[in-house]
């Protein structure tokens, strides 16, 4: 069985339609001038021209997720006795994401380590993850602010995807990467892809050469701990930050959450929702003490988590996929690649970032 295939442009719509008969399909859709992942339907305006404003992380890790619902009932015989009924829902539908980018797909790998590759895997994440197939589009052009090559990725990187699709002149060249991907390719009725492979490879290389290497040629940036611990550096770099959560919510790898009980008198739901380390409440303790009270300390943690703490814990893997969304959509144009670049240059020095 060949692991590559080709779908001509005129059959592309039917390919997506075909998949939607087998699973819930999420596609990047154009709304106003925003691209956002939505469940597929014929009425949607699908847009593969550029990366979506939001990564598809919400498909597997929803912005708010009901972990279980609960209800309290009083025992009529003994009013002091209250019974709690719990109900959880752990069956997840078969899902396909079409049109994620290599950086988006890599984001799920960053999630996998803490959520599934542990002694206590998260059943909600794991459940959805196993049911989901990721069909990635390789990038046709770099986007403003993106820097995937500096963190070990690339515009046609296959890591994390089940299928990688590269748009060529007359259609789409398909590479099946995993077993899940091969199954889809086999059932898709795609033509033989071998005659289009050369064109696709050429395109992939051409785009790769156009991605800006913002700070690291070997894709493994190393940060100076001295400078990292220098608070003056952070204060200066982060003066312009307004401490909103756009960078964390648009990040394919940011996986922090909050848990709240949303309830009325006798029933409610336990909700897990996205949280972001740039919010002051994120580390606010019940005592009123906040170990990270300022925005520069919060951003220091954000960079530290992605470039120091996560790699320390997981074999040197950097928890940033270089999609550039945090730069592109930052209200004040805070540039994480510039910050990391400065942190690298000062290796071994304790000066204040000049």
């Amino acid at each position: 069985m060949a692991d590559t295939g080709f779908i001509p442009k005129e059959k592309w719509g039917a390919f997506i339609e075909g998949l939607s008969a087998k699973a819930q399909v999420w596609v990047p859709c154009l709304e106003e001038d925003i691209v956002i992942f939505r469940p597929y339907s014929k009425e949607r305006v699908i847009c593969f021209d550029r990366p979506a404003n939001t990564p598809p992380k919400g498909v597997i890790f929803p912005q708010s997720d009901t972990l279980f619902s609960f209800a309290f009932t009083k025992d009529p015989e003994n009013p002091q006795k209250v019974m709690v009924e719990l109900e959880e829902k752990l069956d997840f539908p078969k899902t396909i994401i079409i049109g994620s980018r290599p950086c988006d797909a890599k984001g799920f790998l960053i999630y996998d380590r803490p959520y599934t590759q542990t002694d206590t895997p998260d059943p909600y994440y794991k459940g959805r993850r196993e049911q989901t197939t990721i069909i990635t589009m390789s990038c046709q052009s770099p986007s403003p602010g993106c820097f995937c090559t500096a963190v070990g990725g690339g515009p046609a990187d296959k890591v994390g995807s089940d299928i990688l699709i590269t748009e060529v002149n007359t259609g789409y060249f398909i590479e099946a990467i995993t077993e899940k991907g091969k199954e889809i390719l086999q059932q898709s009725g795609a033509e033989n892809g071998s005659s289009h492979e050369a064109e696709a490879r050429k395109k992939q290389e051409e785009v790769h050469s156009r991605v800006q290497d913002r700070f690291c040629a070997d894709g493994k940036p190393k940060i100076s701990r001295d400078l990292f611990e220098n608070d003056d550096f952070w204060q200066e770099e982060l003066a312009k930050c307004v401490s909103c959560g756009a960078c964390t919510y648009l990040c394919p790898t940011c996986y922090c959450f909050n848990i709240t009980d949303e309830k009325t008198f006798e029933k409610g739901e336990r909700i897990r929702s996205w949280d972001g380390c740039m919010y002051t409440h994120f580390t606010l303790e019940a005592s009123g003490h906040n170990p990270r009270p300022t925005k520069y300390q919060r951003f220091k943690n954000r960079v530290g988590h992605k470039f120091i703490f996560y790699p320390e814990k997981y074999d040197g893997v950097i928890a940033c996929c270089g999609c550039g969304r945090c730069i592109r959509y930052c209200p004040m144009s805070v540039d994480i690649s510039e910050v990391v670049s400065k942190l690298q240059k000062q290796t071994g020095s304790a000066s204040n970032g000049k």
């Binding site: 709304e31 912005q63 986007s143 403003p144 602010g145 307004v242 919010y279 002051t280 409440h281 209200p331």
Partner: protein, 317 residues
């Protein structure tokens, strides 16, 4: 405007203040970013062009130091509003005003150049902009890519300043047209408006960029959008909660919003949130004849009351 003159003013002001906030080039040719100047050698980084979109005045309430601040006409209204509400000590702020001939909207430019990375932006003296991307040059008029606020701008010259970087400019816009877009939108039926806002707010990701970039959202870390007590909004990511947040945001700005448009500019999901605030401002103007951030001696209507309000009928029942 002469950039040299602006740099000279900043160099002079820097002698008396701890920091001067201006603009420098951002991560690409299309973006400027705030520049916090604390040393004379940093002045060289300062730029001024229609790329300088951010309202820097929003930093004033959180800085305890003596600050020099670069403001456009629209941004200067923030400072006046702060003065009205007693939120800043005017003696600790040195205002460097720039008479502004209009800025550009990054979103509108990106839409025109199909979201390609921008390599170079050139501004012509005739009000044109040439944007260079890998696909080539795109020429456009600044007026077609200006944010909506520039179309009805009555205050191109700052309404408050200590230094002015150029000769004052008078507005050529008709004051009668300021709320034209609001009036137009108002013609929609209630059902149409509901549908419109449901569609827009559905995209909201509750990142709170609109709130945190808003210079008048002074509650910031104590915002009721996140407090558990009172628990007015849940953490559910649904339309009801999103709408509730935006309605609270808008109503808390009644008679306070200086229409700098930051909320809308920073929204990563392209939600026209400023429209709500403008609608409320038009109501405030009709009810109290009040326009936020124009005269330091004005009293914001929500910070005072009269037993008999001239334009509110309810007491005369």
């Amino acid at each position: 405007m002469s950039l040299d003159k602006l740099k000279q003013i900043i160099t002079d002001v820097l002698k008396d203040v701890d920091v001067v906030i201006g603009y420098k080039q951002g991560f690409d040719a299309l973006h400027a970013t705030p520049c916090f100047v604390t040393k004379p050698e940093q002045v060289d980084e300062i730029i001024w062009s229609p790329l300088c979109v951010q309202n820097l005045a929003g930093y004033l309430t959180s800085l305890k130091k003596k600050v020099g601040i670069v403001v456009k006409g629209c941004d200067s209204r923030t400072i006046v509003q702060y003065m009205q509400e007693g939120l800043i000590d005017r003696n600790k702020v040195v205002v460097i005003g720039i008479p502004c001939t209009g800025i550009l909207s990054v979103k509108k430019v990106l839409e025109k150049v199909k979201h390609e990375p921008v390599e170079e932006v050139t501004f012509g003296n005739d009000g044109t902009v040439i944007v260079k991307t890998p696909s080539g040059d795109t020429k456009m008029a600044l007026s077609e890519v200006a944010p909506d606020k520039c179309e009805t701008c009555l205050y191109p010259t700052p309404v408050v300043y200590d230094h002015l970087a150029d000769e004052p400019i008078a507005s050529t816009k008709d004051p009668q047209n300021v709320f034209k877009d609001v009036e137009e939108f108002n013609k929609k039926s209630l059902e149409e408006k509901k549908k419109y806002w449901e569609k827009e707010f559905d995209r909201c990701i509750r990142c709170y960029a609109c709130r945190n970039a808003c210079p008048m959202c002074v509650c910031q870390d104590s915002c009721i959008a996140e407090t558990r007590d009172p628990h007015w909004i849940s953490q559910r990511s649904n339309l009801t909660e999103k709408m509730m947040f935006h309605m609270i945001h808008a109503l808390h700005l009644a008679g306070r919003c200086v229409e700098c448009g930051e909320c809308e500019r920073v929204c990563p999901m392209g939600i026209p949130v400023n429209k709500l605030k403008k609608k409320i401002n038009s109501d405030m103007k009709a009810l109290f004849g009040y326009e936020p951030g124009v005269k330091p001696e004005d009293k914001p209507p929500m910070l005072t009351f009269s037993v008999e309000e001239k334009n509110i009928e309810e007491h005369k029942l």
